[in-house]
């Protein structure tokens, strides 16, 4: 349920809204080039990649098992190139799953861990060094670095998920009547100095899908695409987007399919 907000927040939100609706088509490109240049290549996400890899090979849960038997769609234990095929249908669960949902499935079935505890805190709070899910997703994305984005769309359920995702993308709701499209349907838009990618276009979607998970400078954490969408929901004053929910999977399917053909370069570096 949306939280109540104080006067200051409403004011800021109104300003933000006004800015976004009234924003001229001035690209923010180039403003941060010097900043990125000085930053260089050293991305703290590299630690999280290592942490994810370690977790994959760490025996956990009542079954004291690693995740090596986890099938991410390319066969048991195959991690290289698996991330780029998500979201996808899995026969064993008879549903379309994103990476996070599939990891949870493997944690509960292979490791015997309790669903509640595994999903209780999927995303870090600031100051944490990251959750298991975040680390695993980061490592898996890195295992697809350089690969072509190619979410499976062969199964009817996968195609239905795309259609559902598209519907949700354009669905206006919440106290400000926002949809994803409000911010992400046009090119060369921005809020303050943050570029707003056009996620309905291949280029915009490919850049977005290919650069998450990303180390988020403002938080000192690597965040997944699932988290990013959840934060959009928060900014739209929508109900909380649950990890592994149909909504989350549908929206990711929509973006990943629009991004198909692009190249994975995650983990990226974001504000």
């Amino acid at each position: 349920m949306p939280r109540g907000y104080g006067v200051k927040t409403v004011f800021l939100w109104s300003v933000c809204l006004a800015l976004s609706l009234g924003a001229a088509r001035v690209p923010a490109d180039g403003v941060f080039d010097q900043y990125r240049d000085l930053m260089g290549d050293d991305n703290p996400a590299v630690f999280v990649i290592d942490e994810g890899e370690e977790l994959w090979f760490t025996a956990q849960g009542p079954k004291s098992a690693t995740l090596e038997a986890c099938d991410l769609g390319l066969g048991s234990g195959v991690t290289a190139g698996a991330y780029v095929r998500f979201p996808r249908y899995f026969a064993d669960t008879n549903e379309v799953m994103d990476v996070e949902a599939r990891l949870v499935h493997c944690m509960t079935t292979i490791q015997g861990r309790d669903l509640e505890s595994v999903t209780a805190k999927p995303y870090s709070l600031r100051g944490d060094l990251g959750t298991e899910i975040e680390a695993l997703v980061t490592w898996l994305a890195a295992e697809s670095e350089g690969e072509t984005i190619a979410p499976e769309q062969t199964h009817a359920a996968e195609r239905e998920m795309y259609v559902l995702g598209e519907e949700i993308f354009f669905y206006r709701a919440g106290p400000h009547d926002f949809s994803c499209a409000t911010c992400h349907e046009q090119s060369e838009m921005r809020i303050r100095l943050q570029s707003l990618p056009d996620l309905t276009s291949h280029a915009g979607a490919a850049n977005a899908w290919g650069s998450w998970p990303a180390y988020r400078i403002s938080q000192g954490l690597v965040r997944t695409m699932g988290w990013r969408m959840r934060d959009c929901f928060r900014q739209q004053r929508w109900p909380e987007l649950q990890m592994g929910s149909t909504t989350s999977i549908a929206l990711q399917t929509y973006m990943a399919v629009n991004a198909a053909g692009g190249v994975m370069s995650a983990p990226g570096l974001k504000r």
Partner: protein, 103 residues
């Protein structure tokens, strides 16, 4: 996990360039958690870079150095195969260490 350091050391002409990335929250002590409690300060206070047994850089840090800190230094000499080490200590008595060879 805590304590890790990723180091790259490269010979460039007459100098060796070292770039190190360290895993550390660099908590200032000024942030509050979800419950409103101040999160204790936890940051690297001393950092050092060694080429063999020579100290090539020694630094004192405050909490204003960014989380997961980065340090780039350059020193004269060094040959591919030489060892470069980076060490740190933090205000809570923690330490970190890492090494690499010059390429």
């Amino acid at each position: 996990m805590a304590g890790r350091i990723k180091i790259r050391a490269q010979k460039k002409g007459d100098i060796t360039e070292v770039k190190a990335l360290m895993r550390h929250p660099m908590e200032t002590g000024m942030r509050k958690d979800e419950a409103g409690e101040a999160i204790p300060a936890h940051f690297i206070t001393e950092v050092a870079v060694f080429h063999g047994d020579q100290t090539v850089m020694q630094g004192h840090w405050g909490a204003a150095v960014s989380a997961n800190p980065f340090l780039g230094v350059r020193f004269e000499g060094g040959e591919p195969g030489d060892t470069v080490r980076v060490t740190w200590e933090d205000n809570q008595g923690g330490t970190g260490e890492g090494q690499t060879t010059i390429r």
